[in-house]
């Protein structure tokens, strides 16, 4: 299981060496990135096959927690590492492969995203989150137009603001607890983080780590960036990176903040996100902007799901997240070949029947039409919300209203696509994007007959992710207490440690 660290290390190594190799042997540099990602994919699949499904904690550098950094490998983390390799491979910037810097940044994004999924240390999460940000700054600016620069700049400023908030939150948590290890924090949280300082720390970290998750007040970068970035970068950000941000919030909630106030705060921000996102999407006049705003709304729904206490909320949130991860990138890829404004999509179905058909399929699933997987994800959310108290019922009304809005604006697009009595617009040729989108559609359809086993599996994963005690015991096996204090100083964990040298006077 130690090899899982390779999914972080190898992409970094390849990215460092890419400019050097590119100068000597260009053909190798061109395929190096996909090869490394393929290897990571294979590795994760193999670990998946050999593992027994129980979570494992890895001590980076051989230093036992809480001193060193812990990687926590449970089913959810493994799933996300798999998805990271798979998605970056599918969304690899093939068309622009000439620029080694773009390949290097994509590799860095993949490595840091794996790190984010695996990390069990608060500050380490911050570092990988920053790396994801910085790598994505370069990727969204590659079109090098004025608009792209300004959009990236606003994205950077908002991310930087989030950085400051997250760092402040970490400082507050550290000042209360004196540790960064998530398992130890989980032990201490009920005593030390329940007060106002701890909650303020949660607010700051939520706003900071929520920037990529398009959380309500820190999401103004979304429409501009998705409108100016290359479709593949948008797809990566909207599909993958936003889900990693959700994963961080999930870990914080489950391990550190199982308190009502924290959940209420998340619920409030989620509801505001749904309302503002869906309304803006409904008003949007070009397709990319519409998709971007609707993505804000859908991520808001996931935050609402996470704010439901208990595993039902986790399950609903994860189902929504995985569905969105499949559908949204495909929609962005389809939109890449079409002219922007909705009115200009008129009659496009005749020019590209496959793309239009795919769009209809994906849109139906996004709205939540049975028997497509999107329906089941929304169903879980609705059922979870219906079993709760007053505030959640309001959120239920908002979610249902949002579904109606979603249906209205997506059908507006579909109606344009299948408009008859006009000169048919023709899409730009974009086989690769269409192929990836078709793959997503195929996966979506093939999931329909297996909904029940998939749901069971996901429920197991959610239960494991929501198991706070299990997390603590996995990281600190000795009766769930930190080893160093149990053993009173303890022996050094390092095999390489020599005899004890005396400090010089």
């Amino acid at each position: 299981m130690s090899q899982i660290a390779l999914t972080i290390a190898l992409p970094f190594l390849a990215a460092f060496l890419l400019p050097v190799i590119g100068r000597v042997y260009e053909a190798l540099a061109r395929v190096l990135g996909p090869l490394v990602l393929l290897y990571c994919l294979w590795l994760v699949l193999q670990l998946w096959g050999t593992g027994d499904g129980h979570p494992v904690a890895l001590a980076m550098g051989g230093f036992r927690p809480p001193m060193g950094i812990t990687l926590y490998v449970d089913r959810l983390a493994l799933l996300f590492t798999l998805l990271v390799s798979l998605m970056t491979l599918l969304l690899w910037p093939w068309q622009r492969a000439a620029d080694s810097r773009e390949c290097a940044l994509t590799l860095l994004l993949a490595g840091s995203a794996s790190g984010l999924a695996l990390s069990g240390d608060l500050f380490n999460i911050y570092v990988f989150y920053e790396l994801v940000s910085v790598a994505s700054f370069g990727l969204v600016a590659v079109h090098r137009s004025g608009a792209a620069f300004v959009a990236t700049l606003r994205y950077l400023v908002i991310s930087g603001f989030g950085t400051v908030l997250a760092l402040t939150g970490i400082a507050l948590v550290y000042s209360q607890t004196g540790t960064l290890n998530l398992a130890q924090l989980a032990q201490l949280a009920p005593d030390l983080l329940a007060g106002p300082v701890g909650l303020a720390g949660f607010l700051f970290m939520l706003l900071g780590f929520g920037v990529k998750g398009e959380l309500f007040p820190v999401n103004t970068w979304v429409p501009e960036v998705y409108a100016t970035a290359p479709a593949r970068a948008s797809a990566l950000l909207a599909g993958l990176v936003s889900k990693l941000s959700l994963l961080v919030v999930l870990r914080l909630l489950v391990l550190l903040y199982q308190q009502e106030q924290a959940l209420q705060l998340l619920l409030l921000l989620g509801v505001l996100g749904v309302i503002s996102g869906e309304l803006a999407a409904w008003r949007a006049r070009d397709l990319k902007r519409m998709l971007a705003f609707s993505s804000i709304g859908q991520l808001g729904a996931m935050f609402i799901a996470f704010s439901i206490p208990g595993n039902a909320g986790l399950l609903a949130g994860l189902a929504l997240a995985l569905h969105h991860l499949l559908v949204k990138p495909a929609l962005f890829l389809l939109a890449a070949g079409w002219p922007g404004a909705v009115e200009r999509l008129r009659g496009l179905a005749r020019g590209g029947p496959l793309a239009a058909g795919l769009f209809v399929l994906l849109a139906l699933s996004l709205i939540g039409v049975p028997p497509l997987p999107g329906f089941w994800a929304k169903m879980l959310l609705v059922v979870g919300l219906a079993g709760q108290e007053s505030g959640y019922l309001l959120a239920l009304a908002v979610v249902l209203g949002a579904a109606v809005l979603e249906a209205s604006y997506l059908f507006r697009v579909v109606a344009q696509l299948y408009h008859r009595d006009e000169e048919a617009a023709r899409p730009r040729p974009y086989l690769l994007d269409l192929g990836s989108a078709a793959l997503a559609g195929a996966v979506l359809l093939s999931a329909v007959p297996f909904i029940s086993p998939l749901g069971d599996w996901l429920a197991g994963t959610a239960a494991q992710a929501g198991d706070r005690e299990g997390y603590i015991i996995t990281v600190f096996p000795a009766a769930g207490r930190p080893l160093y204090s149990a053993a009173g100083g303890g022996k050094p964990a390092l095999a390489a440690a020599g005899p004890l040298p005396e400090p010089k006077p």
Partner: protein, 157 residues
């Protein structure tokens, strides 16, 4: 014995920097100043983090200088801040490079104006008439033109 006001002074410095920085980021319209304010806020957060591990009368966490381990301050926040400072300067450099390019493209550093111009370019690229950009100032004059050599092609098709 610790002078009573001393830790408070340090905390006041950290929180003060944070507040000044955050208000600068949110309220300032000049891009260059926003980037500077970002650095200020980050410095405040760093100071707060170092303070989280500091105690009065502590010594630097370096062995072999005759200080007892118990008196040393917590080394972990210091290591974190080292990391955070370097991350901050990397992001600052990238932000400045982007600001230079945005200035070349649109000839202004005013965030609101840049945003309007960008929205107009995005709308034009999508094929929507310019009037649809809601944020455009009513009758606002576009900024003075930049020398043509510096223009790097506003909107992309």
């Amino acid at each position: 014995m610790m002078p009573a006001g001393l830790p408070f002074l340090f905390y006041a410095g950290a929180i003060g920097l944070l507040v000044i920085g955050i208000s600068g980021i949110v309220l300032s319209r000049n891009l260059f100043r926003i980037i500077l304010a970002l650095a200020l806020a980050e410095a405040g957060a760093n100071l707060l983090l170092v303070l989280a591990g500091w105690h009065w009368g502590g010594s630097a966490p370096i062995l072999g200088q005759g200080k007892a381990l118990e008196t040393m301050v917590d080394p972990v926040p210091q290591a974190l801040v080292l990391t955070a400072i370097v991350i901050g300067v990397g992001i600052q450099a990238l932000a400045l490079a982007l600001a230079v390019r945005a200035y070349r493209a649109y000839g202004t550093l005013d965030m609101r104006r840049l945003r309007n111009r960008m929205n107009r370019d995005i709308a034009a690229a999508a094929g929507i008439p310019a009037e649809s950009s809601r944020d455009a100032p009513a009758g606002g004059r576009p900024t003075p033109p930049v020398p043509a050599a510096h223009r790097s092609g506003g909107g992309r098709a």
